[in-house]
């Protein structure tokens, strides 16, 4: 999120500059010495096309960067989990649930994350897929951790531990004669 904002700020500055140059009122002012307007006007169309290409390139590059970001997270999470050990206590449970929650929230906001890089020329599908895959990987890691903590009902014991005793058909009583 932070990175996205930074990119937006840079672009705003760039747009301001070009808009100023295209204002007609600026023509009244004599050109500074050594400035040839003709050449500028001439290259205007090619320049904007080039610019747009560069922007698209830059966007797709950024999108890939964003898509790869969860990988670092994954490594970090893995390390934390290893440190937390396999016994159930506050620390390990906290880490495991954050490991489960982070990918989940990231997946929910996948459209929002890639919105700044939306462009007709940029294919965002591949980065999105990578992003989703990495986050799913993170989630799997969380689930695996949950399992190693023994919190997943994957054992027979989890399904029978509260099974009440079976009803007995016969009833028998008695004992030593009362004295």
């Amino acid at each position: 999120m932070e990175k996205g904002k930074g990119v937006m700020g840079g672009r705003k500055w760039a747009v301001d500059f070009t808009d100023n140059s295209s204002t007609p009122s600026s023509r009244d002012i004599p050109d500074p010495p050594g400035f040839t307007r003709a050449s500028h006007d001439q290259d205007d169309s090619t320049l904007s096309r080039q610019k747009k290409d560069a922007e698209a390139n830059w966007k797709s590059q950024k999108a890939w960067e964003v898509a790869q970001a969860p990988f670092k997270n994954l490594l970090m999470m893995g390390f934390m989990m290893w440190m937390a050990g396999s016994t159930v206590h506050l620390f390990s449970i906290g880490i495991t649930f954050s490991a489960l929650w982070q990918p989940l929230s990231a997946l929910q906001g996948v459209g929002k994350v890639f919105e700044p890089y939306k462009d007709s020329k940029v294919d965002l599908n591949a980065p999105k897929l990578l992003y989703i895959a990495l986050n799913l990987g993170g989630m799997l890691l969380g689930v695996w951790k949950l399992n190693t903590l023994g919190l997943l009902p994957t054992h027979a014991s989890d399904w029978v531990s509260s099974l009440s005793p079976a009803h007995e058909v016969e009833y028998s009583g008695g004992g030593i004669a009362l004295k």
Binding site: M83, G85, T154, A156, H167, L178
Partner: protein
């Protein structure tokens, strides 16, 4: 991160070493427990009132207790409980400072210090053959600065120094073959007379020198007709006896070494007497009393040897021993029972015609008749004699009467509890007045403010005392209504006297008591004893308007075939609702797991002819039973013959009178233990009302073991016949203890295990799928506790998670013993330091809470031992997973943690049983231990995880919340103000 590792290690360590104990703080004693001290039915009483600062009476009882009671209030000064086999024969007071007791058929003589009950000396008298035990403490006899005590026991006469218990001399009567009835020591003489009978046909008297035990004189005379009962002395040279046919009174007078026999027919003296005549053992000088079927006659013996009937009184009159007054006069007391009153009269022996004193005392009819009376005198201010009487009632209670009033009374019947059950209390009626609520709210607040003060250490000593008082006497715990947690209940106990008591669990007070008519002595029921107490009606759903009731089963005689007596008693009021008089015999009472529409439990009573009788006798019950009868079985354990037999119901009885509530049974199976190698010494089954939460046991690594849970398991322990005696009577090679687990439906032996070199006594408890038993290991010279756990192998395959998720398993299908499930056994043994009197296990409402074994030790204390200590899966080096599961490393001995004695500082003298009852709160169980004393407490084996403790400080919580709210408000206001200032800047 390293911190986290450390933390997790610490946590692991903490979890694995966490063994809950019940240690209390000093100020928690009496908070949820109570202890009551009793002595039992009094047999003998000796008063000590002369020249004593504190007037007291020393008593011995049928529970083998000797106690010194305060005569003013009836409190126990001191008390000693002798062992169950150490029966007290006689007590007396010597030298005015020692209490002398003769016990164990005259073989143990002890002296106790009168003021504090410390034992002064003890003498073992090894007699040659069993005989009567007699004790004579001469009042003022001095032999060489010593005052000897004369004891006859084991066919020997002893003179024993009263100072140190040294045997001065011994005279053996074995060769003479005499059965001594009386030891006499005439005033002023130094000759002791041993009066007795040889071969029931010859009267003998031996005169023995008190100094050295030399035989001075022996005279004898033969009775051709034999004698019945005992010879009673009238004076130092006159005796009276009854002949063997109980129709002729024989007056024996000794004059100048000559014996003169004089026979008088009882029918000549008193008209209308029949064969059941007997001489009462009350010693009154010059007078004796004869009891017949209808009356008691006082007969005076004149100096010339004539018998004069002085007076006849009703048969129910109780006569006391003679009490010597001043100037050689004697007094005795008579008690006659009237309508809810008793009439006490004191007479002087020399002046029988008039009552010296006559008093009428109002008496609760629930105490029954007077059984015994002991009298004592005191000198009034006008120098006349006043009398106080100690009376023992039919319900074994003890009362002191003085000046026509009951000074104090003790419910000592509670010392002999036979059986215990519980009952819920009534539901609280709605509609409480506002003023009451306000008052209680005020009290509540006040109490909590005090507590808060105590917590903050601001309370003055007075207030601390007030806090403690509030805690101990909280009206909550002794209310007569049902509570949410199920702590308040009625404990209904049946005593040996045939009296039913209801005790409140809150404070132990007697809510009601009822002397059962069916268990009282009558013509139809001559020797009644109570046997069993069962819950008869437990209204829960349908019959909420009815009061709960209990069934009392008794028997009218000592033999198994004697007819039985039954009563149904209302548990709220103690009223006898039904009284089923003498009927068929009863050897077994089986409470069936069925109830009718009014929630009466169905019961089967098995008689001596192996017929089953169904109760309640209603057509509905019969219909229910007929429907279920093919699945009802019963078994008998014939301990003497060494046979277990299983039976099933066959059909209606073949009696002359058709009876649809009587069923014939047929023998299905028998297990015969070889009599030369195995003798049954203990059997135990699961408690019928035990609740089990789950059939699966989750072990390390998420694995599952299925428990074999059956109500029809019987644990049987047998020993080799040679080893059935006390410990030490057999060598390790001769003794063998074998334990069996038997299915009582099919007679199948599930498991058999032998402990060589071990012997009984065996105490065992069976619960869920395990049995724990205690025995003696002769080779190791130590007691051992073993555990057997039974697991169901036929269910072990149920481990496929997918199948379990979709419900494709047979775990909930009804099981039959005939399917012969495969079982596996796990077992382990441990050394245990104590010998055990009783063993029991905690039980909770849903069976989720972990269990504790309750072990009644020889010191009459109750020890709680976590079941985790007796887990057969314990090993020397448990794996990490096993440690996490809570499995303890194996040790050879079970630890005894002093804090886990649930009786803390108290002793439950003569401990006989420990009963546990689940409270409604799952974590808590109620424990009632009974013996001569009663003790009640409540336990939370896994601590009270489901409730706040009762001394939780609500006021502190409230105060904290208020403080937090105020703090939030204040900080909010401050932050608003700061924001505003920032904006203005």
């Amino acid at each position: 991160m390293a911190m986290a590792m450390k933390l997790s290690l610490l946590l692991l360590f903490f979890l694995s070493s966490l063994i809950p104990t019940f240690s209390l703080f000093e100020d928690q004693v009496g908070f949820m427990d109570w202890h009551q001290r009793y002595i039992g039915k009094v047999k003998h009483a000796v008063f000590q009132t002369q020249k004593a600062g504190r007037k007291r009476v020393v008593v011995s009882t049928e529970e083998n207790v000797i106690a010194s009671l305060d005569l003013r209030r009836g409190e126990i000064f001191w008390r000693h409980v002798l062992g169950a086999n150490d029966v007290v024969d006689k007590i007396d007071i010597a030298l005015g400072k020692y209490v002398i007791t003769l016990s164990s058929e005259g073989s143990i003589l002890r002296a106790w210090n009168l003021p504090d009950g410390q034992m002064v000396w003890e003498s073992f008298l090894s007699g040659s053959k069993p005989s009567k035990a007699l004790l004579t403490v001469p009042a003022n006899l001095k032999v060489d600065l010593d005052s000897p005590i004369f004891v006859y026991g084991g066919a020997c006469l002893y003179a024993i120094s009263s100072i140190d218990g040294e045997i001065l001399w011994k005279k053996d009567f074995t060769a003479e073959g005499i059965d001594v009835h009386q030891l006499l020591l005439p005033d002023g003489s130094d000759v002791v007379h041993a009066v007795g009978v040889t071969d029931l046909s010859q009267f003998d008297t031996y005169e023995i020198d008190v100094r050295n035990g030399e035989l001075l004189k022996h005279v004898s005379a033969s009775f051709p007709d034999g004698i019945y009962g005992e010879i009673l002395p009238i004076s130092s040279d006159k005796f009276v006896a009854l002949d063997a046919r109980r129709s002729v009174l024989v007056l024996i007078s000794i004059k100048d070494g000559q014996i003169n026999l004089q026979q008088t027919h009882v029918s000549d003296l008193v008209h209308g007497s029949s064969g059941n005549t007997a001489i009462l053992p009350s010693k009154l000088s010059g007078i004796f009393s004869v009891i017949t079927d209808t009356f008691i006659a006082f007969i005076k013996v004149t100096n010339e040897g004539k018998l004069d009937v002085m007076e006849k009184v009703d048969k129910m009159v109780v006569v006391s021993d003679a009490l010597p007054l001043s100037e050689g006069e004697q007094a005795f007391a008579l008690v006659q029972h009237g309508e809810s009153k008793i009439h006490l009269s004191v007479r002087l022996v020399h002046d029988m015609s008039s009552n010296h004193l006559k008093e009428t005392v109002k008496m609760d009819h629930e105490r029954g008749f007077v059984h015994k009376i002991f009298i004592n005198n005191y000198v009034r201010t006008d120098r006349s004699h006043g009398f106080r009487a100690l009376i023992v009632m039919e319900d074994h209670s003890l009362l002191l009467l003085q000046q026509g009033e009951i000074v104090w009374s003790r419910d000592d019947g509670l010392a002999s509890v036979i059986d215990v059950t519980t009952s819920e209390l009534p539901v609280e009626k709605l509609g409480v007045s506002v003023s009451k609520v306000e008052h209680s709210l005020f009290e509540w607040l006040k109490g909590h403010m005090l507590k808060l003060k105590g917590t903050l250490m601001l309370a003055t000593p007075d207030e601390v005392a007030a806090i403690q008082k509030i805690r101990l006497q909280s009206s909550e715990k002794s209310k007569m209504t049902r509570d949410h947690n199920g702590f308040r209940r009625l404990l209904i106990v049946l005593t040996r006297a045939g009296k039913l008591f209801a005790l409140h669990t809150g404070d132990g007070r007697v809510v009601w008591s009822s002397l059962l008519q069916s268990l009282r002595k009558s013509d139809k029921c001559t020797d009644p004893i109570g046997l069993k107490l069962h819950q008869w009606q437990i209204p829960h759903h349908h019959a909420l308007d009815n009061n709960p009731s209990v069934l009392v089963v008794g028997r009218c005689g000592l033999s198994l075939s004697a007819s039985s007596a039954m009563s149904i008693v209302d548990a709220y009021t103690g009223k006898e609702l039904h009284n089923m008089g003498p009927a068929h015999s009863t050897v077994q009472v089986i409470s069936l797991p069925f109830s009718d529409s009014t929630e009466q439990q169905l019961h089967l009573l098995i008689d001596a002819d192996k017929r089953a009788h169904l109760y309640p006798r209603t057509p509905e019950a019969a219909e229910i039973f007929q429907r279920e009868s093919e699945n009802v079985y019963w078994y008998s354990v014939e301990a003497e013959a060494g046979i277990l037999r299983g039976y099933a119901v066959k059909g209606s009885c073949n009696l002359e009178v058709p009876n649809e509530y009587c069923f014939e049974t047929r023998n299905l199976w028998s297990i015969v233990f070889p009599s030369e190698s195995e003798k049954i010494i203990a059997t135990v089954t699961r408690k019928a009302n035990e609740v089990i939460h789950t059939q699966a046991k989750v072990i390390a690594d998420e694995d599952v073991m299925y428990k074999y849970i059956s109500k029809n398991i019987l644990f049987v322990a047998t020993v080799s016949p040679k080893a059935s005696g006390p410990i030490g009577s057999a060598t390790p090679d001769e003794s063998l203890l074998v334990v069996h687990l038997v299915d009582t439906v099919t007679g199948r032996i599930l498991h058999r295990m032998s402990h060589s070199g071990s012997q009984g006594p065996v105490h065992a408890v069976l619960s869920e799928n395990w049995v724990v038993y205690h025995y003696f290991n002769l080779r190791a010279h130590r007691y051992e506790i073993s555990v057997i756990e039974i697991y169901d192998q036929s269910r072990a395959e149920n481990k496929d998670v997918l199948k379990l998720i979709v419900g494709k398993h047979n775990l909930t299908a009804p099981v039959s013993s005939y399917s012969r499930p495969e079982v596996t056994i796990k077992s382990q043994s441990y050394f245990f330091t104590h010998s055990v009197k009783a063993i029991s296990v905690t039980s909770t409402a849903k069976g989720i809470t972990s269990k504790h074994l309750l072990i009644g030790t020889l010191g009459d204390k109750v020890l709680a031992l976590d079941k985790r200590f007796v887990d057969p899966r314990r090993s020397l080096n448990p794996t990490q997973a096993e440690k996490e599961e809570g499995l303890l490393p194996l040790t050879d001995a079970l630890p005894i943690i002093p804090q886990s004695y649930i009786t803390h500082a108290f002793k439950v003298e003569g401990l006989r049983g420990i009963e546990t009852v689940p409270a409604k709160l799952e974590s808590t169980t109620l424990v009632f231990a009974y013996g001569v004393d009663l003790f009640f407490t409540r336990l939370a084996p896994s601590r009270t995880y489901d409730s706040l403790t009762e001394d939780f400080n609500y006021a502190l919580l409230l105060l904290t919340i208020v403080a937090l709210v105020v703090a939030i408000f204040v900080t909010w206001v401050l932050s608003e103000r700061k924001d505003l200032q920032d904006k203005w800047r």
